[in-house]
């Protein structure tokens, strides 16, 4: 039963809401019970609406209740998305028949259809973004409000684009509704595990090498852009990381590491640690279906499975969520995925880009040194 004791990864409904709630002029209505509403509401910073269904509305139909909620949505929202939950998906009500006069986007993403990334994909499909060949610049994708690194990643990606002389186009999915159909022809991603919006994805910003490769690809895709300032900064950042890592290794052994999170960010972090700190990667527990990996990697979405791995491997360092920190407090810890509870984070921390790589290594080295000092 280890595979479903204390599940740690949000459901498809939460993933869909995360994708949609970043679109500032789109009202998001969760069509279901208050229980389904409150979790995403704690995760997303923006305003969410809910139908908060009760028993009679399930038995006799929730259309009237949905219409009541839809009619209360303020006019600042240009469009409304209704996200179904398990029960409303099973009862088969069509929100489009609620009698709402406005433009309604129905996203059928009940929790039982998969994990967060699946809901994100379904929502992105429903949004149906499109390329406008006339739109200049580069889209950014993989940015969504539930991700604790979303603001930092977006700022860092925009900073790097500015360095290269390229303007950001549509940001998936923190943008305005009308811009979804005016996407530029090419995109860069800060998390390739999440479905892209529109535009050909030419690279990822996870890791220094990927940043370099992506901006070289960008130079070909966007004539007039100049990757050199970014490439020079990559080089300088790498020098700084090597210097700091060397200093650490003069005194301490490399930590053994277990990583947990979505596959792409976890593998990026593992590559950084193996490359610059010569770490042994004991395990990668991926929240979603993992891609190919040179490290021991398996999908893990239950805290019991994770606990077994941590008890077995006894890593010096864990990169993951506050769940992993809680079950194995003796390891040094750096947060790379949601949830990151019990710790205050106010600034926009990136995980992607050059500053993301520097921040990751800074956090890792400080956490490891603190642990070594504690051990005396």
């Amino acid at each position: 039963m280890g595979d479903c004791v204390n599940p740690v990864w949000p459901c498809a409904m939460a993933g869909a809401v995360s994708c949609l709630s970043g679109i500032e002029d789109l009202a998001v209505v969760i069509h279901g019970s208050s229980g389904c509403y409150y979790y995403p509401a704690t995760l997303m910073p923006g305003e969410l609406f809910g139908t908060f269904l009760q028993e009679p509305e399930v038995i006799f139909g929730g259309g009237e209740r949905l219409a009541e909620v839809l009619s209360s949505i303020p006019p600042r929202y240009r469009k409304v998305a209704v996200v179904t939950t398990c029960v409303t998906a099973v009862t088969g009500e069509d929100p489009a028949e609620s009698g709402y006069g406005g433009d309604l986007l129905v996203v059928d993403s009940p929790g039982f259809c998969g994990g967060m990334e699946e809901g994100y994909r379904i929502a992105m499909e429903a949004l149906a973004p499109a390329v406008d060949p006339e739109t200049p610049g580069v889209n950014l994708d993989g940015i969504h409000p539930a991700d604790p690194f979303s603001r930092g990643n977006q700022r860092e990606a925009e900073r790097l684009l500015a360095l290269a002389g390229v303007s950001p186009a549509t940001v998936f999915s923190t943008t305005r509704y009308e811009l979804l159909r005016k996407a530029a022809p090419v995109s860069l991603s800060v998390n390739p595990d999440l479905a892209g919006g529109a535009g050909r994805r030419i690279g990822s910003l996870l890791g220094l090498r990927d940043v370099g490769a992506s901006f070289q690809a960008l130079a070909k895709a966007c004539p007039g852009s100049d990757p050199d300032p970014v490439l020079r900064e990559v080089e300088r950042a790498e020098d700084r990381i090597i210097h700091a890592a060397d200093k650490y290794l003069r005194r301490y052994d490399p930590p053994s590491v277990a990583l947990f999170g979505m596959s792409a960010p976890a593998m990026y972090a593992a590559e950084m640690l193996a490359t610059y700190l010569d770490c042994g990667i004991a395990a990668i527990g991926s929240r979603n279906d993992p891609g190919p990996s040179r490290f021991p990697t398996a999908k893990m979405t239950s805290l019991e499975e994770i606990r077994v791995v941590l008890d077995r491997e006894q890593p010096d360092l864990i990169l993951g969520s506050s769940y992993e920190r809680m079950v194995h407090p003796q390891s040094a810890f750096v947060g790379i995925t949601l949830p990151l509870r019990g710790k205050i984070q106010l600034r926009a921390r990136p995980l992607a880009g050059i500053e993301g790589a520097l921040d990751l290594m800074e956090q890792v080295l400080n956490a490891c040194m603190d642990r070594e000092r504690r051990r005396g």
């Binding site: 204390n6 599940p7 229980g35 389904c36 409150y38 009760q54 028993e55 029960v87």
Partner: protein, 346 residues
């Protein structure tokens, strides 16, 4: 969140499942099986994770999910539930709780029948079909009653007090119980059992041996009545609130416990006067209430305190926070007054 006033308070109250889980997860080493999609368990685990960190609790409860997917929704999930209970029982818990969700109720799974198959460990079914079964409070009450119903006959003569219905998601949950324990100490008695807060399953046998059941709030009167009818244990309807309310609590509890409460009431009254004199700098301050709800007990609570401190209510006054939940006992008032002082002088 909707912007239109809603017809019913319970609509916004939260899920029945969460209410029940706030109780079952407080039984040590128990496994709670949530029959439904994994998301329902994950949403709640996330909540308990945050609550554990707030309360410096280092371990998480065991929540198992039957992980109902699209196939389960179409063909039924009773087989998955049976397997999940079997797996949960293999972990050797003192008890397995089984909670249902909206979707399994909608598709018509007979959760109760699977729970009644005859297991080697106690398997307690608590119907909590999300909004189909009511709201947070219903789940909370149902879980309390289900657990209380598992208590056997008392094994000893009545001794201490049982606290019934700790609100485990409250940030101040243990501070409230500590204050109640302190007040009961003035009467020479102790808290034997918290139903249910960090409770060992075997300690449930203490339930019938209580001299007084103290309910967390008056909402729990049906549970108090049920325990009274079963064990003849008297109950008080809520934790003590307010200056006079705290003294009245001591007097009532003393009478039920067969202890002369006069000395305790006098000592606590003196402590309250000392407390108020420590905040005499607030006298004359012009204040207005901020946040919270002045309906019901809150209004009389703040009026009593404002009068005792000689505060002047003024719509243009300094906003001071209304307490939610209401502070328990004299210690709760002290902590609130520190916040008020910060608001007034800060």
């Amino acid at each position: 969140m909707t912007l239109k006033p809603l017809p019913s308070g319970s609509r916004l109250e939260g899920c029945t499942l969460t209410g029940a889980l706030s109780v079952t997860t407080q039984v040590r080493d128990a496994v709670t099986v949530i029959h439904g999609p994994a998301g329902c368990a994950q949403h709640n685990l996330s909540l308990f994770h945050a609550t554990c960190l707030e309360n410096d609790t280092v371990s998480l409860p065991r929540l198992a999910s039957t992980d109902l997917d699209e196939t389960g929704v179409i063909f039924g999930g009773e087989g998955a539930l049976e397997e999940a209970i079997r797996d949960a029982a293999a972990l050797d818990p003192p008890v397995v709780f089984v909670l249902s969700t909206c979707v399994v109720e909608t598709i018509g799974d007979d959760t109760g029948a699977v729970c009644g198959l005859g297991w080697d460990v106690p398997v307690v079914h608590i119907p909590t079909a999300g909004f189909l079964g009511g709201a947070f409070r219903d789940g909370f009450h149902r879980a309390l009653q289900a657990i209380a119903g598992c208590a056997g006959e008392p094994e000893r003569a009545p001794e201490g007090v049982v606290l019934v219905g700790d609100k485990n998601l409250e940030y101040e949950v243990d501070a409230h119980a500590d204050e109640v324990g302190r007040l009961l100490g003035l009467l020479g008695t102790t808290v034997d059992l918290r139903l249910v807060r960090e409770m060992d399953w075997e300690d449930l046998s203490l339930l019938g041996g209580s001299r007084l059941n103290l309910l967390r709030d008056p909402d729990l009167a049906p549970v108090g009545e049920w325990l009274h009818s079963r064990y003849h244990t008297p109950y008080l309807p809520s934790y003590p609130v307010g200056l006079a309310g705290t003294l009245l609590f001591l007097a009532r509890a003393g009478r039920i416990l067969g202890v002369d409460p006069d000395r305790a009431v006098r000592a606590e009254g003196e402590a309250q006067q000392e407390l108020l004199s420590g905040f005499s700098d607030l006298a004359g301050a012009r204040v207005r209430w901020r946040g919270g709800d002045t309906a019901g007990g809150a209004a009389s609570f703040v009026q009593e305190l404002a009068a005792a401190l000689d505060l002047c209510l003024d719509p243009e006054g300094i906003p001071v926070p209304l307490p939610d939940p209401l502070p328990v006992g004299t210690a709760g008032i002290r902590r609130l007054l520190h916040r008020w002082r910060r608001a007034i002088h800060g």
